[in-house]
């Protein structure tokens, strides 16, 4: 059986790891460096099947595997090729995730782990033992505790009540002149290689306490020089260490009362002698000379030495260098230096492995999504939903609203029923507007403020009876508003029931001068008057009809169970065919509402927009005893304010939205929304002035613009009431 190493065949036998097979072939998986073959160092990592930095000692050899050494200098290339089939989501391909919920997870099946597992089992605990020897490569222990594991077949997420880290201790790597030669192995690696029948040739065994340096030619070790000056020739140098370094990276990366460390992983150990030569950090190719240089330059703190020399920031995360780095610093400062911070990952995982089985929030589609597509809509996401942006010609849609009749899918609006004996009290506190004097069958536009008095949403309050209201919220704000309303009502302990119908109910806005006539055709003999609402059957479907106006024309929102959305939409489209009924998308809607000066929360408003800044004090009743935001508004009412949203008009085409507004050379604000109004023959805008004194004439896009009262179009609102 063979795999390829840098395109040359390498033979292997059953049970070989890639690293063992490479050593058997007389080669090294990198260009040199002592091998531990236990996953503690990064000296055997290579590109395996296109994934660089794979530890070959933990990778079982397989026929056909393609292994490539990293370049001797510099990193392996980024594989930048675009995917062959970019449209198909590549994200979930390939990696499976298994999840286990266990009582105790013991990491490590050495002496301490085995003993701990036995003790726990005897006490009746359910134990899962994870050991890298069995292919369970622990990436990290995270708060939870959550243990993330790579196995040869899949990712494993272990949710445990308790985690025991029993990772034992690792042999210490040699740091001395010649330690990057090929042919140096740690004692454990030598045992493993021999057990696999690898011929190590002539060997010399040396303890790191007695090691002076390695000698070699052509990058391969030829002999060992002991600290007493004696030297011995060899093909393979075997390095032993009397004390072993705790494998405590996992322990250092988490602080959780349900994670404990046992056995050698938790034990103090005697640091090796301070290194004097050689590579201390093989991953980043950092020498003892580098450490000395940064120390001499004043970087006299273990973390500063680490950061200045970049020692310990490579693949093994300090596995090789930590004992030597600590020893170096301890020797200089005369006090034992603690290990540097432990950070995940202990064993590296690919981004695909981290992303496996993760799903982002879905985008929502209204029940009419397919109807829009059939009508040629260009869809766009807005407020978490797919919405029609236009149906091919936004201006045609605009004129349909202004001169004929049009449909808009407003199913995405937040819709909520609130009932109960305390409902008026609750709404009085939630909204800055007066609620008690809204008569059943009537509705009112409301602002929703936060405690700072800043606008967070807006909508309608429709009163159905003494103790029943229907509330609407913006599409993007609905989810937040639902939680907001619930939380406050719970906080106040008021007797109010809340039913959110955002998803269960659709809504179609029938708007335009012919909207009333269209409704008459589908069974509503007497459509409600402006700001009234009632229940009626429309084309055989029970609807709650709310008459309001965002577009400036007569508008009837038909709220209905979502199961009937398509039927209702089709009936309306059919009934309006000879009226040239044309649905409108967001693009037309934004233009229509702008002619009326209606703000869109989040688009025209800012994070800290008070009603005063929006010229909407009319929607705030400070004489009410309390409402959310009242305290803040009362505090700031008398403070000078230097921000206000103004209406502007100018001749010629609209500037780009966001354009700066100038007075002379000075930027005083920016255009929030703008549109070239064909019906008014000029550009209309909402824009901010953020400096006093307010200017009446400003410069936008190099052209003069003047402050104008809103609404720009039909200021008396005759059309909405018609």
């Amino acid at each position: 059986m063979r795999f390829a190493l840098d395109d040359q065949p390498v033979d292997f036998v059953d049970g070989d790891s890639v690293a063992v097979a490479v050593v058997r072939s007389g080669q090294h998986p990198q260009h040199g460096g002592a091998l531990c073959l236990t996953g503690d160092c990064g000296n055997c990592s290579a590109d395996v099947d296109g994934v660089p930095f794979t530890r070959t000692c933990l990778t079982p050899a397989r026929p056909g595997l393609r292994v490539r050494r990293h370049p001797a200098v510099g990193g392996p290339p980024l594989q930048l090729d675009p995917p062959k089939n970019p449209v198909q989501s590549p994200v979930h391909a390939g990696v499976e995730v298994h999840r286990r919920h266990v009582d105790v997870a013991v990491i490590g099946a050495g002496d301490s782990g085995t003993a701990e597992a036995a003790r726990l089992r005897a006490a009746g605990r359910e134990v899962l033992v994870l050991d890298s020897g069995d292919g369970d490569d622990v990436v990290g222990v995270y708060p939870g505790p959550l243990v993330v594991v790579r196995t040869p077949e899949h990712m494993l997420h272990v949710h445990a009540h308790e985690v025991v880290i029993a990772t034992g201790a690792a042999e210490v790597h040699p740091v001395c002149e010649g330690n990057m030669l090929r042919g140096i192995v740690l004692a454990g690696a030598a045992d493993l290689l021999r057990s696999k029948g690898v011929d190590l040739g002539t060997t010399v065994t040396v303890d790191i306490a007695e090691l002076s340096r390695f000698e070699g030619t052509d990058g391969r070790v030829t002999g060992v020089v002991f600290s007493d000056g004696r030297s011995e020739a060899c093909d393979t140098a075997i390095v032993t260490s009397r004390t072993k370094a705790p494998r405590d990276l996992l322990a250092r990366m988490v602080s959780d009362p349900n994670v404990r460390v046992v056995g050698p992983a938790a034990q103090r150990f005697d640091l090796p002698p301070a290194p004097v030569d050689g590579f201390v950090c093989p991953c980043s190719k950092i020498t003892v000379g580098d450490l000395q240089m940064v120390w001499d330059k004043g970087f006299q703190h273990l973390e500063l030495v680490k950061r200045a020399a970049l020692c310990g920031t490579g693949t093994c995360q300090g596995g090789v260098c930590m004992p030597h780095l600590r020893s170096f610093v301890s020797d200089k400062q005369g006090v034992e230096a603690a290990p540097f911070t432990g950070r995940p990952a202990s064993r590296q995982l690919t981004i695909a492995e981290a992303a496996a089985d993760v799903f982002l929030d879905p985008f929502r589609r209204s029940a009419l999504h397919d109807e829009h597509l059939k009508l040629g809509a260009q869809m766009d996401r807005f407020g978490g939903w797919w919405r029609p942006w236009n149906y091919g010609d936004a201006m045609r849609e605009y004129w349909a609203v202004r001169e004929g009749v049009s449909l808009g899918d407003v199913s995405t609006l937040g819709k909520m029923i609130v009932t109960g004996p305390d409902v008026v009290e609750a709404l009085e506190r939630l909204y800055p507007t007066t609620i008690a004097d809204i008569r059943p069958g009537r509705s009112r536009y409301v602002l929703l403020l936060n405690e700072r008095g800043h606008l967070i949403d807006d909508g309608m309050v429709c009163r159905e009876s003494d103790d029943r209201f229907v509330l609407t919220f913006t599409s993007g704000g609905a989810a937040f508003a639902e939680a907001w309303v619930r939380d406050w009502i719970d906080t106040w302990g008021l007797d109010v029931r809340i039913m959110d119908r955002t998803i269960s109910h659709g809504a179609i806005n029938v708007t335009g001068p012919l909207a009333g006539a269209l409704l008459q055709r589908v069974g509503v003999a007497e459509p409600p008057k402006f700001l009234q609402h009632r229940h009626a059957t429309v084309a055989g479907i029970d609807c709650h009809i709310m008459r309001l106006s965002f577009t400036g024309e007569a508008s009837f929102e038909l709220h209905h169970p979502v199961a009937h959305s398509v039927e209702l939409w089709q009936a309306l489209m059919k009934a309006g065919r000879d009226m040239n009924i044309t649905p409108h998308g967001l693009q037309a809607l934004f233009a229509l509402r702008l002619e009326k000066g209606h703000v869109i929360v989040g688009m025209d408003t800012e994070l800290d927009s008070t009603p005063r800044r929006l010229n909407m004090d009319w929607a705030v009743k400070m004489d009410k005893p309390d409402f959310i935001g009242r305290t803040a508004l009362a505090r700031t009412a008398d403070l000078p304010d230097r921000r206000r949203l103004f209406g502007f008009t100018m001749d010629g085409p609209a500037p780009t939205e966001g354009a700066p507004i100038y007075v002379g050379e000075r930027i005083v604000g920016h255009v929030a929304s703008t549109f070239t109004s064909p019906i008014l023959g000029k550009a209309v805008m909402l824009g901010w002035q953020k400096h006093e004194p307010w200017a009446d004439t400003v410069t936008i896009d190099g052209r003069p613009a003047t402050v104008a009262h809103t609404p720009f179009y039909d200021p008396e609102g005759a059309r909405a009431r018609a």
Binding site: F53, K297, V358, F359, L607, D608, E657
Partner: protein, 402 residues
Amino acid sequence: MNEFVETLLELTWHEPKSSYDVVIIGGGGHGLATAYYLATQHGITNLAVLEADYIGSGNSGRNTTIIRANYGIPESIRFYQHSLDLYSTLEQETGCWIMHATKGLLWLAHTESAMRNERARAMLNTACGAETVLVDPTEIKALVPQIDLSGGGRYPVLGASYHIPASTARHDRVVWAYAQGAMQRGVHVLQNTPVTGLIRDGDRVVGVRTATGDISAGVVMSAVGGNVSQIAAHAGVRLPVRTHPLQAFVTNGYAQGFGPIISDTELLCYISQTARGQMLIGHEYDRETSYSLQSSFQFLQANAIKMSYLLPFVRDLKILRQWTGRCDVSADFSPIMGFTGVDGFVITTGWGTWGFKAIPAGGEAMAELIATGRTPELIEPFALSRFAADHTMADQGSTGTR
């Protein structure tokens, strides 16, 4: 030869004194930059920077090293553009190699409303001196051939604002450049010196308490990240600041091959390749407030999936290391710099996810404020008093957060 090590300049440590003209709490970028500019521009060297741990151990050593000025309000754009300019000459000025590299930053948009925002950003940025242009998908593909313009079929790339002068620098080396420059001029930097309290004389702050003794000072400045609310509380100052963890991760180091910085306005994550070849990926800060520095797997999962949609090649990269810093976020998402209303105590905080890029301009302005007793015009909008005066500087959309 290790260029990284050889190019370091020397840090000259001093023995502490019991009294200084100025004491700066916090030996991170902002504290050390303020000390540096006090020394270089105002000749004030009888000053100490007190660091609880080692210099740069806080957020200065935990950020994602991006330098940009493409903010959403003129006051911020001008401030960060000045900082960007100072960064671009910092190597010449200090003689320290900070690994400064101009890369350009693409802010991707996936929806019409996001395009509208990026159009607006490009215009306002350019008007305020921060060069930003709108680019279409073809231009994006030319800048980043690796990008999947379909966004994995889920996040189609409609365009981007391209902030041309955006750059990166090695965070530690910025800290050291300022530290070295200040120490060379006689500034004392005292490591392992946590401040346990402030000394007050009537209404005035006149020094600091440390574990190793009291130090008196003419002016005390807090340049603390993370625990700033506690330091301010010692002076009786309550800050409109919440502290959130902010996480990031790097992959192993690969050969250079990825030019610009990419940030996503909808996915709220960003990526760049470091001078060491690591792909560095960050995200908005954690929603919960906490001083915790623990990293979470959920963070890794969310970023990994998002980046896989945009840049499929990242799938096979090995994640090397995650870490976490602390973000002090003010009520309007803008920094707080200047006088506190308590004599002898000034502050620089609220640095959220935008502190690193502000180090030069923030340090220079605070140095001027301390030296002259007057607030420089550039930072006037960011005074603490703006909250009480209701003159907040809301700029949430520019911070990679929501």
